[in-house]
Subunit: 143 residues, 2 copies
């Protein structure tokens, strides 16, 4: 088992990660909080899906997902249609307006991250993503 001191170090790094996330959030336009971007991004990556699937991908409660999705739908960035086969469910789809917004934001974020990216580089980023995925495997069990 990993030593206690390592968890303390991990906590430190998680704080730092929080700072990075807040820095990214700061460049987002008004009316488009981080939660909205997350929804749009996942929809773009995985294609249409139901609320429950979105909640799973976001790793938050469905009540939270519902609010984020409502915010995005109110602005016409995604479409919520009842599932014909189960009318309790709704199917989420990215609209052309939503796709456009996402494209514009990617450009803005890239400019913002310029100096940062050069320091990290492809290989480092790949490793980081892999490592971050590892601890997640156990989450369902100890929660």
């Amino acid at each position: 088992m990993a030593a206690q001191s390592q968890y303390e170090q991990l906590a430190r790094q998680l704080s730092a990660i929080g700072a990075v996330k807040r820095g990214l959030a700061r460049v987002l336009p008004n009316d488009c909080p981080p939660g909205s971007i997350a929804v749009l991004n996942l929809l773009d990556l995985h294609g249409e899906m139901r609320m429950s699937r979105m909640a799973e991908l976001l790793a938050v409660d469905m009540s939270v997902t519902s609010r984020h999705v409502a915010h995005v739908a109110d602005r016409g960035w995604l479409d919520r249609s009842p599932d014909p086969s189960d009318r309790r469910s709704r199917i989420l789809r990215l609209t052309p307006e939503g796709k456009l917004l996402l494209t514009e934001l990617c450009g803005a974020e890239r400019r913002e991250q310029g100096a940062h990216n050069e320091k990290v580089g492809d290989v480092e980023m790949e490793e980081l993503i892999k490592r971050l995925g590892r601890p997640r495997e156990g989450v369902g069990e100890w929660r």
Copy 2:
């Protein structure tokens, strides 16, 4: 420079990390939110320090630090004395009560993380901590 798709993956992993953090936060007792633990933990690791140093270690604004510290001080877990050499500053010190609380909580968290830890292991954890530290180097520049 790392590809755009990698940042999308990274965003996913950060969401997952968020879920892990919330899971840990859930086992904390009332009256002792995550922010309080962070303050106590840093004080235990680095010894006495000033507010500005604490804010730096927490990676948040000093106004936020002030609130967390006040919460902890109100409960007698740390001591805030004016710095004799500069009475604008205050020196933060962990009290015996604070140390005791920290010890108790470490036990609780360890139990909670049991299944999780065994999956990750020492080497993985070490690597993860190292990797997490890497991207942080550039934060000051692009922020």
